[in-house]
Amino acid sequence: MPQEKPELLKGTLDMLILKIVALGPIHGYAISQRIQQISKDFFQVPQGSLYPALHRLEDRGWLTADWRESETGRDAKFYTLTRKGRRQLETELVYWERLSDAVALILRTAE
């Protein structure tokens, strides 16, 4: 039995997806591979919860999607960051930095 990894912090999955999509058009499977690479040692992202999140972000207009040929030749749904999505990513990053600073500060002072 592998050791239990902590669940991804709420809200951070959205930020993670936006960050990955910001690097260029990408399909769902590739996103999940990237997340797995990044997070392998730290947290667990159930693959199932990726798709509802993608659809939610698309619904909010932060991502757009179109069907293109993938690297294996099969058509896949590729997601792209919209301008609105980029702005959202920036606010989330700022917010995230502030939060992690604050947490770090609390942890330091608590020592």
Binding site: Y29, P46, Q47, S49, Y51, P52, D59, W67, A76
Partner: protein, 875 residues
């Protein structure tokens, strides 16, 4: 709006979602194969990583906002499908709601307009009803001469008016002849009430006299219905009872006549301030007054009492004696108008509230039973990826569909019931004719039943969520946790339902028994085929008693020779209507009693035909006959009650009596008791004297006729106008309709409460059936094991029945306790039935027990037929 587009492009969206997820899975599988796994293992791993495909799909769909409408559409469609699959449940639930909501709304609409709506008069708080109550003579009226005296009490009343409802007029000349309900008032009646006609004017003092040109006021409803809202009606002549009346005004729409809101035409009462005399009749009227500022009803009553002593001191001794012990009654007008109907209305209200309660309990019970039987379905749908909120929303939708269907049918039922009540309810409910469907009440009833449905529809679901889905599917129907709790609430609901149904059933039983008692009271006369009408001779034309008598004699003679007429009588009394003449009576040999100490005996002034027209049989002696002329000895006939009071165990024939100041009279005959004062009033001593001795100018005509009495009316009118073409017949009624009117309000109460009780019992039966069916369903395995171990079907039957009966017994015990406490409220509505009538209590309880037994029997039989092999294998 791209999400809007998505709704209409649903198929495409679904296909894309499916393709996207499949692409992911297949890429994962091929990656695993590339990493060295066998294809089979790779597929298994990929699916494990991914989780349930359907569940991910559903979550992705729900992540989109536009799906709200889509989900609603699905929920509604699915809801209809589920409800359609359980037509039994759906029908019962909708019907329960419809009747519960409809009944409550209709009755409450009527009751609230009767009890709560302000009276349609100006400053109604100052208005009082004024009467002198003579408990010995059972009369609460005002004497014509007293009315004129009360007008002088300027320190007490601003104004006093007199009125009489209840005459019927025939309108001719506007299409077919129609009968209109009439009222008569003194000219100042509308000043007292503060009502102004919407058109024209009200009566002038000089129009309120006998022998002047007739004038009439129309109510708004009458004007619209019979005169098609003719704007030029004022000043036109209309023919009422073949007499010409000039229309002087139309009353405003909200106006309602006192005591009888169905009055359509109003004429002057034409009272005369004449000297009171024992030989002249005295008109009895009703009075309404406006109190002077600062005067209370109690103070006004004390003032009237004091004035009465003065007024009556001037009356002849026999009148004064008759008025002895009479107390003035001054009631706020609202109390007078509503007071009589109040107990019946409150009982109806309580009944209808318990019907709503029972309906809600039943919905709760049904929902619980259904919820439990759907545990497995819910669990499977949960396993297939339906989120809890989605499941809740689905159930909520189902409940809303039921509630809306029930509410819509309830609204239809309420509208229909209000219409029925408006046209056929008893007259004594105030504002009935104008009562409207009360929408806030409807909204309340709908909300209560909706809340019940939702609460109890969701409760089992919430309980089910606490049990792991897998366990529920595996165990298939015997989860110990939530079911035990649900069974307990089931039992509780059923017990309350049965108890409430029993209280209602007993109440209805008492009213039905009371109604039966009233209808089975022998009235002592035969009402079929008797026509009655009033004739009043103008005293200025018929000055002496001889002239009056001569007119009545020739009228009687001519009427008797009409084809179809069997017998004719004239009298100053009419059965059920009470006496308008009373006198003290004493055995001749007794010393004179001080005035006012002797009770008043009703005096009927009749022609000999009175007893044969009404089929009142002779018990002893002879009837009055034409030998009792003006010069013959003072003969009179008494009823059996008179003999019981004054001559018990004696032969009364030939005995002599002192009758007020009218000398000595001899009893020549005894007639059977008849209900002269009303069906529910006990017969009291009464005497009947020949009309020749004491002829009043106003008499009631009674004709026994072959066939329908009303068809003879034109011929009778023709005869009267041959004798005096200006003489009207009024108050035309058949004895049958009078008798029916006596029973109307009792019939109404019994029928309405009876209908509610039947409905309540029906609901309770469904409730107990539901509980038992559910319990049998839960215990199939237990039954199967028992039978496998050798239990007889009889034992199984008893096992199930005994549980049902125990439940019923608890409910009935609570119900009986409640009924004992609550039926006392019926007291004044019951006739010759005690509120704790043992026969009703026992009978109704047994009947309800039988219904409960029958409701348990069906599921118990089902349990008996359980095949242990099949049942256990199925497990």
């Amino acid at each position: 709006m791209h999400w809007l587009r998505r709704i209409f492009n649903k198929e495409q969206t679904e296909k894309h979602l499916d393709a996207e997820l499949r692409f992911h899975l297949e890429r994962q599988i091929s990656d695993y194969i590339a990493a060295g796994m066998t294809p089979k293992e790779a597929r298994r791993r990929a699916q494990l990583d991914f989780g349930g495909l359907e569940s991910v799909k559903q979550q992705s769909r729900e992540a989109r906002r536009g799906n709200f409408i889509e989900i609603l559409r699905q929920d509604v469609r699915y809801g209809f499908r589920v409800l359609g699959k359980n037509p039994g449940f759906t029908t019962v639930a909708v019907l329960t709601l419809a009747l519960g909501i409809g009944g409550t709304t209709a009755i409450f609409s009527v009751v609230s307009s009767a009890l709560l709506r302000p009276l349609p008069y100006h400053d109604p708080a100052q208005l009082v009803w004024l009467a002198d109550e003579n408990t010995r003579a059972h009369m609460t009226v005002v004497l014509e001469s007293d009315y004129f005296a009360y007008q002088q009490l300027k320190g007490v009343f601003q104004n006093v008016a007199a009125y009489e409802p209840g005459e019927t007029h025939t309108l001719t000349g506007f299409g077919d002849a129609v009968r209109l309900n009439g009222g008569a008032v003194t000219y100042n009646f509308f000043d007292v009430l503060g009502v102004l006609p919407q058109m024209g004017r009200s009566f002038l003092p000089e129009e309120d006299r006998a022998g002047v040109a007739h004038t009439v006021l129309l109510t708004d409803a009458c004007w619209r219905q019979h005169f098609s809202s003719d704007p030029h009606i004022i000043g036109r002549s209309i023919a009422l009872d073949n007499e010409s009346y000039s229309v002087i005004g139309v009353l405003p729409p909200q106006f309602e006549f006192l005591d009888n809101p169905r009055v359509e035409v109003i004429v002057p009462l034409a009272l005369q301030n004449r000297e009171i005399s024992i030989t002249k009749p005295m008109r009895l009227v009703r009075a309404v007054a406006r109190l002077r500022q600062g005067m209370t009803p109690a103070a006004a009553a004390a003032n009237v009492d004091a004035a009465n002593q003065r007024i009556w001191a001037g009356y002849p001794p026999s009148w004064a004696g008759m008025m002895e012990g009479t107390r003035a009654q001054v009631l706020p007008l609202r109390e007078h108008l509503v007071g009589k109907a109040q107990p019946a209305l409150l009982v109806l209200l309580a009944a209808v509230a318990s019907v709503l309660l029972i309906a809600c309990l039943n919905i709760a019970n049904l929902q619980l039973a259904r919820g439990v039987s759907r545990e497995k379905e819910i669990a499977i749908r949960g396993a297939l990826g339906a989120g809890r909120s989605r499941l809740l929303r689905q159930l909520l939708t189902e409940n809303l569909i039921i509630s809306l269907a029930g509410g819509a049918s309830g609204l239809a039922i309420a509208a229909w019931l209000v219409r029925v009540l408006r046209t056929s309810g008893p007259v004594n409910i105030p504002h009935l004719a104008s009562s409207q469907l009360n929408l806030p009440v409807f909204a309340f009833a709908l909300f209560v039943s909706l809340a019940t449905g939702v609460l109890f529809g969701l409760a089992p679901m919430l309980a089910a969520f606490r049990v792991p889905i897998v366990e529920t599917i595996k165990e298939s129907g015997t989860p110990a946790g939530p079911s035990w709790k649900i069974r307990r609430s089931h039992n509780l609901l059923t017990v309350i339902e049965l108890a409430a149904a029993l209280v209602l059933f007993i109440g209805a039983g008492l009213l039905v028994r009371s109604f039966a008692q009233l209808t089975s009271v022998p009235p002592g006369f035969d009402a079929r085929g008797v026509l009655t009408a009033q004739i009043s001779l103008p005293i200025n034309l018929y000055k002496t008693q001889e002239q009056q008598l001569a007119f009545f004699r020739s009228l009687e003679k001519r009427l008797v020779s009409l084809p179809g007429v069997e017998s004719v009588a004239l009298a100053n009394v009419l059965p059920l209507q009470g006496f308008n003449l009373g006198s003290w009576v004493q055995r001749e040999e007794l010393p004179p009693a001080p005035p006012g100490t002797l009770p008043t005996t009703g005096v009927g002034v009749v022609t000999p035909g009175y007893f044969s027209v009404l089929h009142i049989s002779l018990v002893q002696g002879r009837l009055l006959d034409s030998r009792d002329g003006r010069v013959s000895p003072n003969d009179l006939v008494v009823n059996e009650a008179f003999i019981r009071r004054y001559f018990p165990n004696e032969n009364a024939l030939g005995k002599r009596l002192k009758v007020a100041d009218q000398g000595i009279w001899t009893i020549v005959g005894v007639v059977r008791d008849s209900k002269q004062r009303g069906l529910a009033v006990d017969v009291e001593p009464e005497i009947f004297v020949p009309v020749e001795k004491w002829c009043p100018p106003e008499l009631t005509l009674l004709l026994r006729v072959q066939g329908d009495p009303i068809t003879l009316l034109p011929a009778v009118r023709a005869v009267v106008s041959q004798l005096d073409k200006n003489l009207p017949l009024f108050d035309v009624q058949t004895m049958d309709s009078l008798l029916k009117g006596e029973l109307a309000s009792q019939r109404f109460n019994a029928a309405l409460l009876g209908a509610f009780a039947i409905f309540a019992v029906f609901l309770a039966a469904i409730g107990i059936y539901g509980v038992m069916a559910y319990s049998v369903h839960q215990r199939v395995r237990e039954v199967a094991i028992r039978m496998a171990l050798g239990a007889e079907p009889r034992d199984v039957l008893w096992m199930i029945l005994s549980r049902g009966l125990a439940l019923a017994a608890v409910g009935l015990v609570f119900g009986l306790t409640g009924a004992f406490a609550l039926t006392r409220l019926l007291g004044t509505l019951l006739y010759r039935v005690r509120p704790s009538d043992p026969a009703t209590f026992v009978g109704v309880t047994l009947a309800l027990l039988a219904v409960a037994l029958a409701a348990c029997w069906i599921p118990a039989r089902r349990a008996m037929r359980v095949d242990p092999m099949v049942a256990l294998r199925y497990e």
